[in-house]
Symmetry: C2
């Protein structure tokens, strides 16, 4: 069973084909796991071997992957059986490559495709994958079509936003349980375990899949944004920045909050006020037609007043995701990105200030609506003191 | 704090440099997350952006990555501060690439390096990453050094095996809790949530990190090896194949078992006996000097007698892992792999028979010792009936 109804995939494939026509492509070799899912529903933990959706400008797409994953394709895609092609494990041996098999299917199924788009910077589309594909298709032209589908994904359907709101509800449950449970003497991993349990099974009506991305630095590790937990225990004076996000049908709704055990230093309280004010200002700048940079600028005005600088981006578009990242690799909320916001785009507005003395994280995932930003979370934004 | 003591990393870097000398490389650009961890300790969830360890044949390695991850490198590597180089977020914009910055550091820090090894088929070393690096270093030769470090990783140190045994203990706890909790009416995601909680925080003395790889197909989805759970409930007559593996300091110890709710069909019982007999035969073939193919052959003799064929590999070397995979991408247990086994190699022997009528999984992670295979798990191997 694919996640959505057939017409949702038809609509998506139509939009992808329009973009392919603009780019003058006859065929797209889709290798990014979220793009494979987006186009035909494919959802399995098989992206450690070469696999692809071959999506022609005219005609129907096919799935190509490892033979033992044919059943995964039968279970999750909208494709008929005769559109699924699997290679045996001899392709995993040294000197062979799944790309050779993919090239054979391109040749057999799409003999007329001359201009072929490939996702040059997609994780798992390795240098070797590309070199083998190019060598096996010398009479075709491979062009960079990286993020072509990612840009189609940017504006969500109502069905997608419903699913993201379910993810948001799971995220809130997990975050609240974590904040409630943090206290002196509790092992950091206890909080991490609670969070995972809640992200997966915390809601009575539906479950979450395992989230892609996880950072829960605690104690002195909060100065580093992308670390996880340890088996140390919380002590008075220690902080924890929680960045987590449930995943419902692989749609993510991230959220960040900061907790401090015991009375927080004045510096951290002040920082929390500035960041919250900045968040409110950034959200207030969201409306259809505003630019991504307008959101960043609104934030920058607030923090500049407090003498803080943050050169890194403050957010990114979000939706379908697989490891290594839950971002969409399209729009960034940063002063240099002039993309106009449109209704039903979704962003993770992620305000992280990492310093060796104090670190603070606060984020919201929001949908762009005609009335402005609609946040998926309903949780209190203040620094939690335990 | 790096996971191991400094001499462990010195030993590893020495072994890598020996392999580099054999391959006539002046410099290795290490981009695979487990290889970055193996060589200098780097451990952060930052591999969705370009980053590398630059490891010269003569001299000391350096870390290059995104500036906001410099603190992650300070926290987790054995490198001094002046060996860490970070690029700002302008490199994330369209038309720019972290590879350009990495090339600048190669040029500035290793001006004499002519023969440069790159990991052509490593996940995250994308076609674009390679193209940009090659374009920015026209006076150097980039050669394929894919899996050079993976092969060094194949034989573990005692310190590594101690950590893998800790992971094995966490895995057993999670598996046992899952098997105990499966019963009619229980939501599949409830079991998944319990498993994650136990993998992370199930042991009183130490914690696990989040596992890389997860497949817990239940019910009719067991015919497909790489699916996860849903929010359906267990019912009498449904089976569940559990493949899971704790991760301690990112060393994995996977394990698979099969559970059936209610009296199992005779066909499944028979299959479980054949697979267990095959597992015992495969383990008995393990000794230093035996070939990887000998293990597969021992298994194939048993299943052939029962009229079963399994063309896919029955296992692979394992140790350090990051998404998308916990395998090491070196030795496979398959009839065509003639690698001799040596003490302190570790393998996941994974016996999965996936059929539409019945599916069965049974696995063990074992260390090659002078006396034969030493399994990390102590759990009962039989089909569990609930």
């Amino acid at each position: 069973m694919a996640t959505f109804q057939a017409f949702e995939y038809s609509r998506r494939i139509g939009a992808i084909k329009n973009a392919m026509a603009d780019a003058q492509l006859d065929l797209l070799v889709v290798t990014s796991p979220p793009n494979m899912n987006y186009s035909v529903g494919y959802d399995a933990w098989s992206f450690y071997v070469p696999q692809a959706i071959l999506l022609p400008l005219s005609g129907e797409p096919v799935w190509v992957g490892r033979a033992i994953d044919l059943e995964c394709a039968r279970h999750t895609t909208v494709l008929p059986d005769d559109a699924l092609f699997g290679y045996d494990d001899s392709y995993l041996a040294k000197g062979r490559h799944g790309a050779d098999y993919i090239a054979d299917i391109v040749r057999a199924t799409f003999p007329g495709a001359r201009q072929i788009g490939v996702e040059m910077d997609a994780p798992f589309y390795t240098a070797q994958f590309h070199a083998r594909l190019a060598a096996a298709l010398p009479d075709r032209t491979l062009t960079d079509a990286d993020t072509l589908i990612n840009w189609v994904r940017l504006t969500k359907s109502h069905a997608e936003i419903d699913v993201m709101r379910q993810a948001g509800a799971l995220t809130d449950i997990a975050m609240q349980r974590a904040i409630d449970a943090i206290e002196p003497g509790v092992r950091q991993s206890h909080i991490a375990g609670l969070i995972y349990e809640a992200l997966i099974d915390g809601h009575p009506d539906y479950c979450g899949d395992v989230p892609d991305f996880q950072t829960l630095p605690m104690g002195s590790r909060t100065s580093a944004p992308h670390l996880t937990w340890t088996d140390e225990r919380f002590a008075a004076g220690s902080a924890c920045t929680l960045e987590l996000g449930a995943n419902r049908f692989r749609y993510h709704a991230p959220l960040a909050r900061t907790v401090h055990v015991g009375p927080p230093p004045t510096e951290l309280i002040d920082l929390s006020h500035v960041v919250e004010e900045g968040l409110v200002a950034a959200l207030a700048a969201v409306r259809p037609g505003a630019l991504a940079s307008d959101v960043a600028d609104a934030w920058n005005v607030v923090i500049a007043r407090a003498g803080i600088e943050k050169p890194s981006r403050i957010g990114y578009s979000i939706g379908l995701g697989y490891p290594p990242d839950w971002g969409e690799r399209t729009v960034s909320l940063i002063a240099t990105d002039r993309t106009p916001l449109q209704p039903n785009m979704v962003f993770h507005l992620m305000l992280g200030i990492w310093g060796r003395a104090s670190s603070y994280e606060l984020s919201e995932t929001f949908v762009v609506t005609a009335k402005g930003a609609s946040c998926l979370s309903g949780l209190d934004r203040r620094l939690s003191v335990k």
